[in-house]
Symmetry: C2
């Protein structure tokens, strides 16, 4: 029996059918356009495989309260057309299958936990640094989920002394997303990630900001691994800088064996850009 | 059958025997002195009751890894005499009973969850603002515990513009504990909590710092309640100020019904100064 996996993103939808070991048998990438067009293509892809279980990692926020009638519905997203779209029930009905849905970042975190690191590390923080910044938490081998989705990208951080740039977050003058997201970098410097390679000053500042967010949540979860994914992490120099800034902030205070081995503690995703797609497979395999 | 409860603090040890409803039948407060003297008094208190289960909330850090041979042992504490003291096995052996141990702040959080709010709210953040600053998390009705104790009091925060005070944390120039703990307040102003009543400037700054830490962890856990305990919270004006600063920082961004009702969201402990003692009872009742 094939398992379905969908990573629903703002620019593209990735669909795959896979076996439970995670081996992908067939996949397709669909450009995100209107709801009707995009979702029709998604359904057309999956229909022939008669899947029973579909995992979905979806851009958010989405309702994750199983007792709510809005469960699995996209909520107040900046993607106007998709606001309040009930992706969960649409897929359930059209494909006549079980749907296991979570946010994109939590799904990616779970993909890294389950397939990326073979469930070896039970406590994982997954940061995605793309257009926005999000954090997914795997806690004792399970997805961390309170009553409400979380918003760790909006933590208050300390600016560098001479940084008086206007935050791109319309709510917060000094939040991580407003100062360090891909969106913020684009607005400030208008450089592609590749072009940042020779701008160590920018990368150092980016690393300093990200390290503060990482540090705050490492203090809270004492994770086994911190994974940095998303577009910004494609810049190869960034993660080494983040490690340095993290060490500076920590200054030897918090330590345990996995944290102390910093090069294996703050790492890039094992699954590269497919953490989310594999995460969706994992959600379906584990029926989460 | 009576249940034993011990709140082991740096200045005093509170001991109680109670029934499972939380009704305390007998209690005693012992001044913390040497290990030998203090622990002998603790044992003398409990021995006559032949308890089977003892809950312990202990100043830390303590080892909470059940697979470790150091489990329940006090680790690298500034209280030199108590460093590496195996309080867990001592109590287990001398009282011949089951011992359920956790850190003081987590035990307090659990006390508020279980007895304070009658398990009505499954996700609780408990901040203790005393000599130091600690945070205990109840997540889906359970104690949050990864592989290692957490250290949320050391989150990096933004200083107020003209605050160039030297942090009391020897590791961090800008951490919450270093700038906003009771220790830091004492060092800066040499005023008792009562005397702070007419120093709204100090209380506002304190609230601004605490609100940043609270905000960061509200974003992570989306809790049902945030409880502010510890000595500093005795200053009655503080919590209203914290609510104001929290609202300013959030600026309407993160919202859900429990958070939006801010006066019932950021609150003082229901159990006043006995969160830890009741928490210890609860640990033993639930055999955690």
């Amino acid at each position: 029996m094939l398992i379905g996996a969908l990573e629903a993103g703002g620019t593209k939808f990735k669909c795959a059918v896979a076996i439970s070991s995670g081996e992908i048998m067939k996949s397709v990438v669909i450009k995100t356009t209107t709801i009707e067009e995009t979702m029709q293509k998604v359904v057309n892809f999956f229909l022939p495989y008669h899947i029973e279980d579909l995992g979905v990692g979806c851009f958010g926020p989405i309702s994750l309260d199983k007792k709510s009638k809005f469960y699995g519905q996209i909520l107040d997203t900046p993607k106007e057309k998709w606001k309040y779209y009930d992706i969960y029930n649409y897929l359930k009905d059209k494909l006549n299958c079980n749907v296991y849905i979570n946010t994109d970042v939590v799904t990616s975190a779970y993909g890294e936990y389950y397939f990326g690191f073979n469930s070896l590390y039970k406590n994982i923080l997954y940061f995605t640094v793309g257009t926005g910044i999000g954090v997914g938490v795997i806690y004792n081998g399970n997805v961390l989920q309170g009553n409400h989705h979380t918003e760790m990208g909006h933590i208050t951080i300390n600016r560098e002394k001479n940084d008086d740039y206007l935050s791109t977050c319309e709510f917060h003058d000094n939040c991580l997303e407003g100062l360090a997201s891909g969106n913020s970098l684009d607005n400030r410097y208008n450089l592609t990630y590749e072009q940042l390679e020779n701008r160590e000053d920018i990368l150092r500042q980016e690393a300093f900001y990200l390290a503060q967010g990482i540090y705050a949540y490492v203090l809270a979860f004492a994770p086994d691994k911190v994974i940095i994914g998303g577009g910004v992490s494609h810049q190869k120099k960034l993660i080494p800088f983040i490690r340095e800034e993290f060490k500076k902030i920590n200054n030897g205070y918090f330590h345990y064996p996995l944290l102390d081995d910093i090069n294996n503690f703050i790492v890039e995703p094992k699954l590269k850009d497919d953490s989310g797609l594999y995460g969706a497979i994992a959600l379906a395999v584990k029926k989460l």
